[in-house]
């Protein structure tokens, strides 16, 4: 009897797991099947023409690249700094539980709200206008909770023995963190952060109001310029373009490039993790 139940549970769990793979597999298959025909050197290296119906998506690739770099530059130091404070310095008092609660709540805020926040604060109040700077800051706000939570977990995972040993050898608290906590938690912090940033790279709503240009066939000159971005470009091509039905291959091609970019980021995360795992194992 128990044995049958066991087998049933196993079968059930296995089916659920396979179902996830099927969904991802289908999405990938569909995008690759329809997008591969659009992919060529000209598509990724040239500027769009006729509102994106022809030509390439080069400025959108560059735009998304700049946004990702900007987001990393802003969110990584802030997020890791916050995580170090929460994991190593903050006590378990009321105020810090409130901070934690705020971070968790922030993680659940819909991305369009971040977009509106960015529009209000960075674009209008700070006067950056729709720009790479405003967009990066908005995206950074959005990924901060992910980075903080992932980094804090990873800091807490460092065994107490390492901390005790450092302190007992006469290290100050910061020396201990710098020499015996950060190196070991780096892989987890970077991996978690990059996965969060990869997710942000594909977001449309936060950049819609803060940076993304509908059609801008030139490259930005400074961080105060608007740029095109892959997810927004895809959204425009698929829903707003007058010839949306005729340019499916362009849409699929853009989706494929976006996927490849995010995949590249994840791959980078995996490489970093393996590197650090090999270096510090315990």
């Amino acid at each position: 009897m128990n044995n049958t139940a066991d087998k049933f549970i196993l079968l059930f769990l296995r089916l659920i797991t396979y179902a996830i793979v099927v969904v991802i597999g289908y999405i990938l298959f569909d995008i690759i099947k329809n997008g591969i025909s659009a992919l060529n050197w000209q598509f990724v290296s040239s500027f769009p023409r006729r509102s994106g119906a022809e030509g390439g998506i080069f400025p959108a690739i560059i735009g998304t690249f700049y946004l990702v770099v900007g987001t990393i530059a802003v969110s990584l130091p802030l997020g890791i700094g916050g995580a170090i404070y929460l994991a190593e310095y903050a006590d378990q008092g009321k105020f810090n539980s409130l901070v934690r609660l705020a971070i968790i709540t922030l993680a659940g805020v819909p991305s369009i709200v971040f977009g509106l926040f960015g529009l209000g604060v960075f674009v209008l109040f700070c006067g950056f206008g729709p720009s790479i700077l405003a967009g990066s800051l908005t995206l950074a706000c959005m990924v901060l909770p992910t980075i903080i939570v992932a980094s804090e977990e990873s800091l807490r995972a460092v065994p107490k023995g390492f901390r005790d040993a450092s302190l007992a050898l006469g290290a100050t608290k910061w020396e201990m963190i710098r020499t015996n906590i950060l190196p070991y938690s780096m892989s987890g912090m970077i991996t978690g952060s990059i996965l969060g940033i990869g997710r942000a790279a594909g977001e449309t709503a936060p950049i819609l109001l803060t940076v993304a240009a509908f059609y801008l066939p030139r490259l930005p000159k400074s961080v105060f310029d608007q740029v095109m971005a892959l997810p927004y470009h895809l959204y425009i091509l698929a829903t707003q373009h007058p010839e949306a039905d005729r340019i499916r291959h362009m849409q699929y091609g853009t989706a494929l490039i976006l996927l490849l970019l995010v995949l590249g980021l994840s791959l980078g995360a995996i490489l970093i993790r393996t590197h650090f795992r090999k270096k510090f194992r315990w």
Binding site: A165, L167, T179, N180, R281
Partner: protein
């Protein structure tokens, strides 16, 4: 002060504790500990597991400070200095009062980097000098011959006993810089017999 001492009157004492009480939150772990510990001697604390030997030792270099809600009441004098006096430099204290933990805890770095850790954070950059300290410390901990050919291998690959001796060497490596008496003060806890040596 302790009135009935088993030691001769003129013996130099390095550690004196006076009615030390220690609390983990509401739980009291040490009750009125008054002890004299002579210099240049090996003193052993023996007792059943959980009786507070390690807690007491952790009071001596204020490692218990890192435990939230813990409290020490009473005085501990090391070299006539009250280490719980306000304004005591805890980092300086821990440099002088080395500690090897019951559970070996080498860093996941090379054997060399483990032993050189203390001297390095205290500002020793000269490689020749570091190499000397590492060799001397490893010899003192009786592990030099076993590891001299693989100083740059990861310390996590050592056996349990070797790891513990490495931790002893690592604690010793901080010593030579401290005052004359402190290099004699190296508490560690050992598995056999279950007790703590000072």
């Amino acid at each position: 002060m302790v009135e009935h001492s088993i030691y001769p009157k003129d013996m130099e004492m390095v550690i004196t504790t006076n009615q030390v009480n220690f609390y983990y939150g509401p739980t009291q772990a040490l009750f009125d500990i008054s002890l004299l510990i002579p210099a240049k001697q090996v003193t052993a604390l023996i007792g059943p597991s959980g009786c507070g030997k390690s807690t007491f030792l952790r009071c001596l270099n204020r490692m218990n400070d890192t435990i939230p809600l813990s409290r020490v009441i009473g005085n501990i004098f090391i070299n006539q200095k009250n280490i719980y006096a306000p304004g005591t430099d805890v980092v300086e204290l821990r440099k002088e009062v080395g500690m090897v933990f019951q559970k070996s805890n080498p860093f996941p770095k090379s054997i060399f980097d483990n032993v050189a850790y203390g001297p390095r954070i205290h500002g020793e950059k000269n490689h020749t000098r570091l190499t000397e300290i590492v060799e001397q410390s490893l010899r003192q901990a009786a592990i030099w011959d076993e590891v001299k050919d693989r100083l740059h291998a990861n310390a996590m690959g050592l056996s349990g006993g070797q790891q513990q001796r490495l931790c002893i060497a690592r604690a010793l490596a901080v010593g030579p810089k401290s005052c004359s008496w402190t290099s004699r003060l190296r508490p560690w806890t050992q598995n056999q017999p279950r007790g703590s040596k000072i």
